[in-house]
Symmetry: C2
């Protein structure tokens, strides 16, 4: 798990530091920005942002759109997709995700815990899947997702308390917003095999997550199926558990 | 399509240029390298590589492995995955890929032409799929793949000639290695709806590609199904065409 909380201000005096600060200012929910937004997010003067973005653009790391806004360029995608840690996990998990999707026709994801957020390493959707806004590389809140609850249940106590204490945003009437209730549910999840989110992030959508274990038996990822609530979840629970176990055996 | 051929030597005097040269030295077939490899690939002195890699590591753009080799770090994956052009295409295509995989249980891919290589934007595999070494972000040669032949058939004549003249590597006894033969096949593909690769990249594996068209009707991507040759291809051709057309309609 990388540490996103590490701020960069101390290093932004160097050219590399400025470049990193600019790249770090982009995120799932701000993937297209104007120079003023980038300046605001990175804490760098507009003139610096203008110059460094130009350098990044010439390399292909950023792209300037016709409306004057900026987005991450293809070149960074090509380089970033080579990242080893997630690549190996995604590579190993790919056939299991494919099979699980073929058997359920629902939204199937592989997720890890990353700085107290759920980060989606891979996603397979079908036209019959529920339309939760999740894409590879994107993140969702821990307390409202089945993957998040599963991963947090197996995380250190301090992480659990940090999530409970940082304020639990309400997405639907069913979202767990009381810290004590979340910690109790995490206890139950830790004892069981799977975690559920029942319309806690989006009305009409439920999901079930099962643990993917690494070489030492520790939980390293969550395999999930998201489905419309009226479809019921028992058969999906069975399938997601079976594939998570098979993947864990392969990784062991 | 980004232009990878653009070399960086003229810019490697600047800090940013050095950084870009180092990142650009990583590729699908060299995703883990030693500092000496990076120095060799980037054309930068070892001392410079050592220093800049250290800066990249502190940010999370590179990771040093226990054996002393280096790989791309998670942070770059998180940023790169935000790249707009491919993200929008992958997002639109995702449900079609999911459905196509569920219906075929074979290796399903979405690919674009990128500097005379086939670049895979998305891949879904199952345990019953043939084991072609292709992963999201990876590339394969144009002349030996169905996606490559399909995309090149709809590319400008100069691109076709450039591929034909750059030397056609032989992967199996069935690989097209004669430039004239490739150009004739591209003519046929352009007139038809789909392109095939019949054990041209890997013995025992075939694939069929259908065109995905953008707003102006131009071919922007290829949707493919790869399968073991003994399974036959007619039903896969029908399915891949149907999904490529449905995706094209949505993009139009």
């Amino acid at each position: 798990m990388s540490s996103h909380q590490q701020a960069l201000p101390a290093e932004t005096n160097s050219v590399a530091g400025k470049l990193f600060a600019i790249l770090s200012s982009f995120a799932t929910d701000r993937s297209v920005m104007r120079l003023t937004d980038i300046s605001h997010r990175s804490g760098l003067p507009l003139s610096t942002v203008h110059r460094v973005c130009g350098e990044l653009e010439r390399w292909g790391g950023l792209e300037k759109r016709t409306d004057g806004s900026w987005c991450i360029g293809d070149r960074l995608w090509e380089v970033g997709i080579l990242a080893e840690r997630y690549a190996a996990l995604r590579e190993a998990a790919a056939p299991f995700l494919g099979d699980l999707h073929a058997q359920t026709r629902q939204n199937v994801t592989l997720a890890v815990l990353d700085d107290l957020r759920v980060r989606y390493v891979d996603v397979i959707r079908g036209s019959q899947s529920p339309s939760v806004e999740v894409r590879p590389g994107g993140t969702l809140p821990v307390h409202a997702t089945s993957a998040g609850k599963l991963l947090l249940a197996h995380a250190p106590r301090e992480d659990q308390r940090a999530v409970a204490e940082q304020g639990l945003a309400r997405y639907t009437p069913y979202t767990i917003t009381a810290p004590g209730q979340l910690l109790r549910e995490l206890c139950l999840v830790r004892r069981g095999e799977v975690a559920y989110s029942r319309e806690e992030l989006q009305l009409g959508t439920a999901s079930v997550a099962a643990p993917v274990r690494g070489t030492g038996g520790e939980v390293i990822a969550a395999l999930t199926v998201a489905f419309r609530v009226m479809r019921g979840g028992e058969k999906f629970e069975l399938l997601v558990r079976r594939h998570a176990e098979a993947l864990s055996e392969q990784l062991a």
